[in-house]
């Protein structure tokens, strides 16, 4: 069970409601786990409050186009007709938000929110809005654990078997950063995620959806290579005296290159999906602001161009700008930092405590502990 990250929340409301305002950015930054991946910890009172504020704002925007959110033929004031529309909305939207079909008791509970709103003589739209707010604050939406209230957990020896809807959800959050679409939910409803072949087929379908899959694949690689978070790509900056070609335009270009390269390996019909390609392809995605770092002179403007790079110098993601520039200092290379990431995150090695007789690495104008890489304070100094 895991709470949605800020990105997953944003992607989810975009997919469910077409709301691309990235409302979850108002939440505190997600904690990271040991591997560098976003991993939210327990909800504080502030977050409970912000979840409420966000849900209210999102619902307020959504009910402005009620016809799109919850199509309804009933005339205003036709309570029976509007009730039926509300139930239909709860069943349909609830299934997509909770990533599994709702049980009758859950529909009744949510309809209760609609009903008590109407009994206060508030209108249909307000009722739908409050149902939507209840859904967006429910643990069934906020936490990834798609098991219906009365479902028995399927034991398989010492393990618990995932429900088909948990399989669907894991697949779509991994490849889209959001919950399943209707087709994937249908497959789960019909028990069509039972074999590896069925899962692979759905996975390939999800990876074929350009925008969503590219975003999620980029997110994954940025977290995996420890390029997100403090002192990551977003804060990247270089000394103009030591790195004369640096401009601030390079910062977004470097991030865009990583995302485009990862997507080129894994997303779309041309992608071969091979780890070898990720680790060895001498390819860059270059804009004018990043061209000098690859000794290229023929790339102009802000349109990203796919370029074959010098094979003597470049091989895959570890020789592209994102990894090299983040795991470095502002004035130059830093083999120890890069080695630490490779050793810990790729080779799963552990770093021991720094022996007492190792002198700190010194760099002009920098104090010692910034560069002692054996402690986790490496980046923090």
């Amino acid at each position: 069970m895991r709470r949605l990250t800020r990105r997953e929340y944003n992607h989810s409301v975009a997919q469910l409601l077409g709301d691309t305002s990235q409302p979850a950015n108002a939440l505190p930054t997600d904690a990271q786990n040991e591997a560098g991946f976003a991993s939210p910890i327990a909800v504080s009172t502030l977050e409970a409050r912000l979840y409420g504020d966000i849900a209210e704002a999102v619902a307020g925007r959504a009910v402005k186009d009620l016809g799109k959110l919850a199509p309804c033929d009933a005339k205003v004031g036709d309570r029976a007709g509007e009730d039926a529309c509300a139930r239909r909305f709860i069943e349909g939207f609830g299934r997509r938000a909770y990533r599994r079909p709702l049980e009758a008791s859950e529909v009744t509970d949510l309809f209760g929110v609609y009903d008590s709103t109407r009994k206060l003589t508030l209108d249909h739209a307000t009722g739908v809005s409050l149902v939507l707010q209840a859904i967006l604050q429910s643990p069934k939406f906020l936490y990834r654990w798609e098991v219906a209230p009365s479902a028995k957990l399927g034991r398989d020896g010492a393990y618990v078997r995932l429900t088909p809807h948990q399989v669907a959800s894991r697949l779509s959050f991994f490849l889209w950063g959001a919950g399943p679409d209707d087709a994937l939910l249908d497959a789960a409803d019909q028990g069509q995620l039972a074999t590896p072949e069925q899962v692979v087929a759905q996975g390939k379908r999800l990876l074929g959806v350009g925008g969503k899959a590219s975003d999620a694949v980029g997110d994954f690689h940025r977290q995996w290579l420890r390029l997100d978070g403090p002192a990551g790509l977003a804060d990247l900056s270089k000394s103009k005296s030591k790195v004369p070609a640096w401009t601030d335009d390079a910062r977004p270009a470097i991030k865009a290159e990583l995302d485009a390269f990862a997507a080129s390996v894994f997303v779309g019909p041309q992608a071969d999906g091979k780890l070898a390609t990720l680790l060895t392809a001498p390819v860059g995605f270059v804009r004018e602001s990043t061209a000098p770092f690859y000794d290229l002179t023929d790339v102009k403007g802000t349109t990203m161009v796919r370029k074959e790079l010098n094979v003597a110098q470049r091989a895959g993601v570890f020789t592209q700008l994102a990894f090299l520039s983040v795991h470095a200092t502002s004035s130059g290379s830093h083999p120890t930092k890069r080695g630490t990431v490779v050793w810990r995150d790729l080779l799963c090695g552990a770093l021991g405590k720094l022996p007492d007789n190792v002198p700190p690495v010194k760099e002009a104008g920098t104090n010692v502990s910034a560069l002692r890489t054996a402690d986790d304070g490496e980046v923090l100094g």
Partner: protein, 456 residues
């Protein structure tokens, strides 16, 4: 510790409801025409005849360049702490305190000088629950939550049991409701102000708004029922996290129900000025002042008896002190810009003194506010203890020995201030215990072995 202690007076809360709506309205920029529509429910008024004890905790980062010298009442403050000079009689700078709980947390990968990582354990009586890069988890409640909880258990009700305020806080957290349960400070003083001081101000009685409030209540009831049912299904460890979520929703409801407090006659509602961007570090100074003013006003008016403020994050990589005329250079690396608070702290020197001096000015401002508010035969500061807690000795060494901890206020006569207290190698937990004793809060459950010890 006898050195810190004066006499121990019992807590004797005496709430006298008073009204001071005009002050409140002035602060909100509203006309007195709105007076009749204010709710007639009163919150506890400040300016009490027999004032209660209160505690304020301020967490800040990157150590100091120099610290109080000499011993006893004749101690001297270095030049950049001069803003505190007028308050010397109310100060108790400590020397020789160390972060023992961090030293004792098993962690083979971590050198023992990582001050930044000390943040989550700083205000707790326990070792870390877990050591993880960037998000060390507090092993127990921080002292602010512990005190607030004790007051609740004793039936002492204020509109808020505690306030957690932040100034661009992110990253390592110092405030914990309990083990693994964050108590995230609100970085938005304008939201805090509206919640705490003006929550019950409607423009006119509006049946539509009342109906919405009731509908929202039924919606939140379902959210709570969902959380409760979910928690029972997901196993013990996950269940504890869902339970924390449920507690947070309940706490939120309680805060919303409490509405905005009204402030007693003679107590000032802070004027926090026009809203500025709470995520822009150029506003760090403005935001700090707003949060400190809210803290002082909330304490003076007995809106709450416990306030915790976390300033910046564990290293302030993101904070360039532009308000001191220090501009970003656009260069930098793992410590943020070359002129970030963190980078400057690593180098030390005059700019570091300048920044330290700014922090001490803010502390002096808070102390001054508390001293200005009279209550009983003295002032609010006399009945309050403030702890200004940094987590490392200085920005170069990152040592967690000799951390600069400053106490201010007598807390109802408990602390004998105007003294530079030199102790030798004393765990910070013993100082926290003194604060619990001063507040009349039993320490049972706050500390794990062997930290429930008195100062020598």
């Amino acid at each position: 510790m006898k050195a810190l202690m004066s006499t121990h007076k019992p807590i004797n809360p005496d709430h006298k409801p008073k009204y001071c709506r005009r002050t409140l309205l002035r602060a909100l920029g509203l006309g007195p025409g709105l007076l009749p529509v204010l709710t007639t429910d009163f919150a506890y008024a400040g300016c009490l005849a027999k004032p209660p004890k209160r505690a304020i905790f301020v967490v800040w980062t990157n150590g100091v360049q120099e610290w109080a010298q000499g011993s006893g009442p004749s101690f001297t403050l270095p030049g950049y702490m001069k803003s505190l000079e007028p308050h010397k009689a109310d100060l108790l700078p400590l020397a020789g305190v160390k972060l023992q709980t961090l030293k004792d947390t098993p962690n083979p990968q971590k050198a023992d000088n990582v001050g930044h990582g000390a943040t989550p354990a700083l205000l707790t009586g326990k070792k870390y629950k877990e050591l993880r890069p960037f998000v060390e988890i507090g092993g127990g409640p921080s002292i602010d939550s512990f005190i607030a909880n004790d007051l609740l258990k004793r039936g002492i009700k204020t509109p808020r049991s505690s306030l957690a305020l932040g100034v661009m806080q992110e990253g390592y957290l110092a405030l914990w409701r309990d083990s693994g349960q964050p108590n995230r400070p609100d970085n938005d003083p304008y939201r805090v102000f509206a919640d705490v001081f003006a929550g019950n101000m409607g423009t006119a009685p509006d049946p539509q708004i009342d109906k919405l409030r009731m509908a929202r209540k039924s919606m939140l009831d379902l959210v709570k029922r969902d959380l409760d049912a979910f928690k029972k299904r997901v196993g013990r460890e996950n269940g504890a996290r869902i339970d924390a979520h449920l507690t947070s929703v309940r706490e939120l409801e309680k805060n919303l129900d409490a509405g905005g407090a009204q402030v007693g006659a003679g107590c000032a509602v802070p004027a926090i000025g026009n809203k500025v961007d709470v995520k822009n570090t150029r506003n760090f100074h403005t935001l700090t002042k707003a949060q400190f003013d809210i803290a002082a006003a909330a304490i003076a008016a007995d809106v709450t008896r416990v306030v915790a403020i976390q300033m910046g994050n564990e290293g302030d990589n993101h904070v360039v002190p532009t308000w001191l005329g220090i501009e970003p250079t656009g260069k930098g690396g793992g410590l943020g810009d070359e002129n970030s608070h963190h980078s400057i702290a690593h180098r030390g020197g005059d700019n570091k003194r300048k920044i330290d001096g700014w922090f001490f000015e803010q502390f002096a401002h808070l102390i001054d506010k508390l001293r200005t508010d009279k209550e009983g035969t003295g002032n609010v500061l006399d009945n309050t203890v403030c702890l200004f807690a940094n987590h490392m000795q200085n920005g170069g060494s990152h040592s967690i020995d000799n951390i600069p901890w400053l106490l201010a206020g007598k807390c109802g006569g408990y602390f004998k201030t105007n003294d530079n207290v030199k102790v030798s190698n004393v765990p910070h937990t013993q100082v926290l215990k003194e604060i619990l004793l001063a507040m009349g809060v039993p320490s049972t459950g706050f500390f794990e072995d062997p930290y429930d010890q008195d100062l020598p």
